[in-house]
């Protein structure tokens, strides 16, 4: 957990509304684990006032990568940064996905919807390095919403794509694609990140097939460091079902602990 006021944008690329940043920030890079996030200051004034949470898309000793979709004012400002610009970010924050050597030889399904693919590249790499047999399910509305296909391919990560409109890969929701695969082979774990509706459907699916699953939740975040109580989600705890700060205890939670809103 560092405040790096002098992180430096090394490279920025985009496919339409989706942007990929490579950022020099060695301290954050070295500490990062898959599923953790950073809080990025996008402007210098009070508009927007708050930092924006973004998952760590990949990390190494020099820094981190981010992958995001322009979704509003904050991400729009971020998308206009230029190589060499300095960035102000805090991270790595939160608790990530479960990655352990005990998973060796086991099978993991990673499911990402739209911008939710962001944390899954780092995760797939780390699982792969530990000998986990990993398949990534990558869904979007249209072909334009799954721009990271090549990146997964090049990294030698097994990738199954879906588009709602059938313009690429399986035609339908990514959850349907996962459902079909589950009917064939049962993984040992599912890791997922994406729109609430996708994750909720996937949680039901995983439960039906008796596969443990982990979900990276989203929320508007005031601080990212557990101070504002703004980012809560209903989570089953020992002490009952309470509003739990996802920046601190999450953003990744096991499916059976998450109470999805109606």
């Amino acid at each position: 957990m560092t405040i790096d006021r002098n992180a430096r944008l090394r490279d920025i690329r985009n496919w339409g509304d989706y942007f990929h940043l490579t950022i020099d920030t060695p301290d954050v890079g070295r500490e990062a684990r898959p599923g953790q996030f950073v809080m990025v200051k996008v402007g210098d004034g009070p508009i927007p006032l708050l930092r924006r949470p973004l998952s760590i898309h990949d990390a190494g000793k020099d820094g981190i990568e981010l992958f995001f979709k322009v979704s509003g004012q904050g991400t729009e400002i971020l998308s206009r940064k230029k190589p060499g610009d300095s960035l102000d970010l805090i991270g790595p924050l939160g608790k990530g996905f479960t990655v352990s050597d005990a998973m060796k030889g086991k099978r993991a399904h990673l499911v990402g919807g739209g911008r939710g693919i962001a944390p899954l590249f780092f995760l797939a790499r780390e699982l792969g390095a530990r000998g986990v047999r990993t398949a990534v399910f990558y869904g979007g509305r249209r072909l334009a919403d799954i721009p990271l296909r090549d990146k997964f391919d090049k990294a030698g990560i097994e990738l199954l794509c879906s588009t709602d409109d059938g313009s690429f890969g399986f035609a339908g929701l990514v959850t349907e694609l996962v459902g079909r695969e589950l009917a064939k082979t049962k993984p040992d774990i599912i890791h997922a990140c994406g729109p609430d509706a996708m994750m909720k459907a996937l949680a039901a699916l995983a439960a039906k097939h008796g596969v443990p699953a982990e979900f990276s939740l989203e929320s508007i975040m005031g601080c990212g460091i557990g101070a504002c109580w703004g980012c809560v989600h209903r989570i089953r705890n020992e002490s009952g079902d309470g509003w739990t700060k996802i920046c601190e205890e999450g953003p990744v939670f096991p499916g059976e602990r998450i109470l999805w809103p109606e």
């Binding site: 009070p46 460091i225 509003w243």
Partner: protein
Amino acid sequence: MAGMTNKVDLSVDLGFLKLCNPVLAASGTFGYGLEFEPYLDLEKLGGFVVKGLYFKPRDGNPPPRLVETASGLINAIGLQGVGIEAFAEKVLPKLRRLRTAVIVNVCGEDDDEYAAVVEYLDGQEGIAAYELNISCPNVKAEGLCPALSPRTTFDLVKRLKAASRRPLITKLSPNVTSIVEIAKAAEEAGSDAIALVNTFLAMAIDLETRRPKLRNVFGGLSGPAIKPIALRMVYQVASRVRVPVIGMGGIMTGADALEFLVAGAAAVEVGTANFVDPDAAVRIVAEIESWCEAHGVAAVREVVGAIKVS
């Protein structure tokens, strides 16, 4: 950030409490303090006010609880918290070791709960003062709270003053016609200091869904947007009461803090800024010090109430 040379005397004296500098972190924006240890040295603060505590644990409001507005933040946390016992057992022992003023923000569903919290905490060591949060807009319907009337303010403060062995800081709501009247009621009832302002009752609407953006409909506005109104209220109150005033509302920089001091605040609290920069409060201390140095101000208390109105 330069020049922490202690050439400037930053200490302020609230009468009942001496602070090493006039900057406190505001309640609800600084967790229980410990969340910020990775980012700053808590002992470099004048002190901090922990998140509002009821006697019982509270679950708070359903999300979304936050929405950004132009230069502002609306929150409807609803005072989720661990309750007074868990605080005393798990948190307070860690805070007690710090050489900084730890102030507890006291809440209650009714007068009895406020009194119970104060009584319980009176049995605990390591608390510098109580800040009575009689002004949270996120708990009852449409922002109802004791600080909206001089009568309820007076009665509650009077009762708690009699019940408490510690100094009381009464935190006021800006959602009133006459902030001076309420401040005077708190002073008359024995409050040792007045803190203002809490958040402004506000709302935001999502045009596409036609729903309020906050699940709670209403929330409290904080941040730079409110600073001009907060500053006005601090100025009005500081010249009308004898007890020290603690000012807040949109302080993001040392210059903002100094404006509140010049308006008459003996100390300030930094709120929303802590979310933007977890080390904001110590940066503000350093900025105040630099400014004093650059302006030949030997002791920061010289600028308190130094406003010139002719």
